[in-house]
């Protein structure tokens, strides 16, 4: 999140630069919907924002239980926002379980808004509270605003004659109304949205609107009582244009569609269900009209193997998974390297090893991506830094795959996949197309065919089966450098290994030179990051620089091959710090490639870095 004021001020003063609000409730309380609508209202208020949903791993968790809590966090502000926020300033807890599982994260002095109507004996028991925390003083380091939201909601919707269950369902809109009041937001767009959502049931629309209004009106009352103060966060100046919210999974899917489009190819997506990568497949199945064919394979291996088959037949093969599934695909990646077919492999990284932490985020598959195959098997690797960046990274992966006839790994992670942020909708026409051409005529001397002849980039021709006169055989076995015929000879293996290496290394010539993301080229300290640590690193470096520290941020998108100037750039700093959500993998790559003294700063708790953690690490590195 952006420069939260250094000393926690709670909500007593107006206009901090940024505020973090977490809505938490039972899975059935509609917290994701509430969060989504609050997000839209933040966008319409002109605030920058980032959001992160935290839903239970259990599919239908029993009501009121600790593991059934669903939460949605939003960080919004009047300045640039890059993360979903360190610690919440406000926690809306719809039941005891939501309070228990989330209050630990709340900033000291932060505000708890709790629905006393749900703090019944039974719900307290389910949340493993012996005494109500609202009454035993255990919440004394926070401000508590506890009142019976349930009863107030039922009262507000009484005129519409709903049953008790339906009436209570309006609680989330009541809460949203209060949140809108707290942050000085316009209710009109929400009223429109409710009218549209419930257009087939106007009574429900009116009831929800009444609840929204009642929550909003309650704010005034609470203000009179001195417990709550309205705040206004100014708009961040943003370039004019159309914006939308986008999650990483959506961005990857759209980027792949755009990438295939720019290559003038249909796309084949082979996938197998796995958390958190499945959402890409879910999204793509609805995009058939964009030339997408999706295939839910019998396993991870079949998912990639079918994508390789589709690439062989002339489409852009894509597959996607998370760590354990990527491990299963590894042998087939070797086949794609050996047969030199284009392929995009998306890895939404999660905590490992083995099943690890399926719903949590980590960056621990970097070694797997860069080094993790048998044989000398080089593959380009790109990492997205945020949901919106994943769009451009997916296009870049498609470009490299098709222009260099190689499989490419695109790394995202659980955080990027699920997080949402505002995205200025790009004009597809603003991207340079990279149309693919297939070999139609024999390309060798005297009318011979050379499927492994190479162009100036080191790429071989793409030959679609079905093309008359170009019948040939390819496979995973070592081959003759020109004809591609089976050839185990020492000279052939040396030449082909060298050629595969040179081709992938050559990708560096087509990528932008590494820039300093924030700060100066050279100085005391460079904080080098990749992937979703971009947000906390960027904000931590910004804060440290504001304090006068000589520190710069270098964010690397192209993990393999690395930008050609990166080594020289890094050697311009006295110290190099590499924060990663793993035990130091990119640090090793930097040392390996440039012999620089990169120092690791690691976290593997399944949680993203906080800005404060990285800020402290920067101060430590400079001490």
């Amino acid at each position: 999140m952006a420069t939260q004021t250094a000393e926690p001020e709670g909500l007593t003063k107006n206009s901090p630069e940024a505020v973090v609000v977490r809505f938490a409730g039972d899975s059935g309380d509609g917290m994701q919907l509430t969060g989504g609508q609050f997000t839209l209202s933040s966008a319409l208020a002109g605030n920058d924002f980032a959001t992160f949903p935290d839903f239970p791993a259990e599919i239908r968790a029993p009501q009121g239980t600790l593991f059934g809590v669903s939460a949605f966090q939003i960080n919004f502000g009047s300045t640039e926002i890059d993360t979903a926020g360190d610690a919440p300033d406000v926690l809306v807890a719809m039941n005891p379980a939501a309070l228990k599982t989330n209050v630990g994260a709340l900033k000291p002095g932060g505000l708890i808004i709790a629905d006393t109507g749900e703090f019944t004996k039974r719900n307290l028991e389910k949340a493993k509270y012996e005494v109500s925390p609202l009454e035993d003083g255990s919440l004394s380091k926070w401000q508590v605003l506890a009142f019976d939201i349930s009863a107030l909601t039922v009262e507000a919707v009484k005129p519409f004659g709903l049953g008790n269950k339906d009436a209570l369902r309006c609680k989330n809109m009541w809460t949203l109304g209060l949140a809108l009041w707290m942050f000085d937001r316009d209710r009109a767009p929400l009223v429109d949205w409710l009218n549209n959502k419930f257009r087939k049931n106007p009574v429900l629309a009116e009831a929800n609107i009444a609840a929204l209004n009642a929550g909003h009106a309650y704010g005034e009352t609470a203000e009179l009582g001195g417990q709550l103060h309205k705040q206004h966060l100014d708009a961040v100046p943003a370039p004019a244009g159309l914006y939308r919210t986008i999650t990483g999974a959506e961005a990857v899917a759209l980027g792949l569609v755009a990438g295939a489009n720019l290559a003038h190819l249909p796309m084949f997506f082979g996938g197998y269900p796995i958390t958190p990568a499945s959402s890409i497949l879910h999204y793509l199945v609805g995009l058939k009209e964009f030339g997408v064919t999706t295939f839910q394979a019998e396993d991870e291996i079949a998912a990639i193997a079918s994508a390789i088959g589709a690439s062989y037949a002339g489409q852009l093969g894509v597959t996607s998974s998370s760590g354990p599934g990527i491990a299963l695909k590894t042998e087939a990646m070797g086949l794609a390297v050996m047969t030199e077919l284009p392929l995009v492999i998306v890895n939404s990284q999660r905590g490992g090893p083995s099943t690890g932490l399926p719903t949590k985020t980590e960056q621990s598959d970097l070694y797997q991506a860069v080094y993790g195959r048998n044989g000398d098997t080089p593959m380009p690797v790109i990492a997205a830094r945020s949901p919106s960046d994943a769009f451009d990274c997916a296009i870049e992966a498609c470009r490299i795959a098709t222009q260099y006839m190689t499989p490419v790994i695109l790394l995202t992670d659980g955080y990027i996949a699920n997080a949402a942020e505002p995205w200025k909708v790009p004009d597809p026409a603003s991207y340079e197309a990279f149309p693919v051409s297939f070999l139609e005529e024999r390309n060798g001397p005297d009318g011979t065919l050379l499927p492994y002849a190479r162009d100036e980039k080191g790429a071989r021709p793409w030959i679609k089966p079905g093309t008359p006169g170009l019948t040939h055989r390819i496979g995973g076995i070592e081959k003759n450098p020109g004809t591609g015929n089976l050839d185990y000879s020492p000279a052939a293996h040396q030449a082909m290994t060298d050629a595969r290496h040179a081709k992938v290394n050559g990708v560096a010539k087509s990528i932008p030179a590494q820039e300093v993301t924030l700060g100066n080229a050279g100085g005391k300290l460079a904080v080098v990051g990749w992937g979703s640590t971009y947000g906390p690193i960027h904000q931590a470096v910004r804060r440290a620089r504001a304090k006068g520290l000589d520190v710069s941020h270098i964010h690397v998108r192209h993990i393999w091959p690395l930008p050609e100037n990166l080594g020289d750039l890094l050697r311009g700093y006295e110290r190099i710090l590499v924060p990663e959500m793993n035990t130091g993998q990119f640090k090793t790559v930097l040392r390996d490639q440039f012999l620089v003294d990169a120092k690791p700063y690691n976290k593997v708790s399944g949680q993203p870095f906080t800005i404060a953690e990285i800020e402290a690490a920067i101060e430590g590195a400079l001490a």
């Binding site: 244009g241 914006y243 939308r244 058939k288 394979a297 002339g314 019948t471």
Partner: protein, 347 residues
């Protein structure tokens, strides 16, 4: 098979310039010749024909056929073939696999290709041994097989490829063997079937499992040991010249097959059943018939087409695309949007 415009070719046109590297005397040579002899008869077009294989001796097959060929990785040929077919359904795909490749490491993919009914020919060369890795026992090896990894004899029960295929939902199941003169007919029938056509071909590994199939495949006495199935014809075997003609009848009490003697050619009197390639129940019995008490069932055992996977997928895709905008700019602008102008953001 695919609806194709017949092309005139000869056996020579299907021979690639690559030196064949199987052991001298390997049954694979005979299968290769049978395939190369069959392809011209089908009017197949080399440019539209793709041989896809996994790993093993059999999987070297694509290198020797002058068509498109993809020698993939161990066990995964069915998955690669699925991607190829969905990307270009006009290609005529022959999948070549073995008992290790198709029944062991790739058993899962074989099952799913068959149940989905991808339109292709699956040729499973069964030599009941791992040849390329030097003779270990395979999932189809008979109990008691001595091999480098089972010096005391194998103890696990062998898989029956054709029973597996039927169990997986295959709509075409056939059997042949490497040197059989009937093999081209079986291949033609497989090609004529629209959908996944599974053909088990017993193949003699002369180095590690020599003459394993002689008990039924040896020319001498073959007529007594081979039941060549023909649709619409009685299930007869043995020689009427020697007076040893027999047939297969149904034991209605036990719901099993039995061998009956046929006297004076009167098979009806003996209760011999007529082969109906669409009878799935009888097909199950035929593929499980124990050799010894029964002859080896060969030829087309089951052939009852149903819609293919690629037709279903691509048909659904086509329908889903109807009337939909393909404007990428519009797609990107979908969802929860707002506009920022000089006056600030608005919906």
């Amino acid at each position: 098979m695919n609806a194709i415009t017949p092309i005139t070719t000869t056996l020579k046109d299907w021979e690639s310039d690559q030196e064949v590297r199987w052991c001298p005397g390997c049954g694979d040579y005979a299968i290769l010749k049978a395939v190369q002899r069959t392809l011209p008869e089908l009017g197949a077009d080399p440019a539209k024909t793709v041989f896809v294989s996994g790993i093993g001796c059999s999987s070297r097959f694509p290198y020797y056929v002058e068509s498109y060929g993809f020698h993939t990785i161990h066990g995964r040929a069915p998955a690669v073939a699925t991607g190829i077919k969905l990307a270009n359904p006009e290609l005529d795909i022959w999948l070549v696999t073995g008992d290790g490749d198709g029944m062991s490491i790739g058993g899962n993919h074989t099952m799913h290709l068959l149940r989905r009914n991808l339109n292709c020919q699956v040729l499973l060369f069964n030599n009941e041994i791992y040849g390329l890795t030097k003779g270990q026992y395979s999932p189809t090896s008979r109990e008691g097989t001595h091999s480098p990894t089972t010096p005391l004899g194998s103890v696990d029960h062998p898989a029956l490829p054709c029973a597996f295929a039927l169990g997986a939902g295959a709509r075409f199941v056939a059997r042949g063997f490497d040197v059989s003169k009937h093999l081209p007919e079986v291949l033609k029938a497989a090609h004529a079937h629209k959908g996944a056509a599974f053909v088990e071909i017993f193949q003699n590994c002369i180095v590690y499992n020599k003459d394993r199939f002689d008990d039924f495949a040896a020319p001498k006495g073959a007529e007594d040991r081979q039941l060549w199935l023909k649709n619409g014809e009685p299930m007869l075997f043995g020689s009427d010249k020697t007076g040893r003609q027999k047939g297969i009848a149904l034991d209605g009490e036990k719901l099993t097959l039995k061998v009956v003697d046929v006297v004076d050619g009167d098979w009806q009197a003996a209760g011999v059943i007529v082969h109906d390639v669409t009878n799935r129940s009888i097909a199950h019995m035929l593929v499980e018939m124990p050799f010894g008490p029964f002859p080896m069932a060969l030829g087309v055992i089951y052939d009852d087409p149903r819609p293919t996977y690629e037709d279903a997928v691509l048909g659904q895709d086509t329908k889903a695309r109807e009337g939909k905008s393909t404007d990428l700019a519009r797609l990107l602008a979908k969802g929860q949007t707002w506009t920022v102008s000089e006056d600030g953001p608005e919906l």
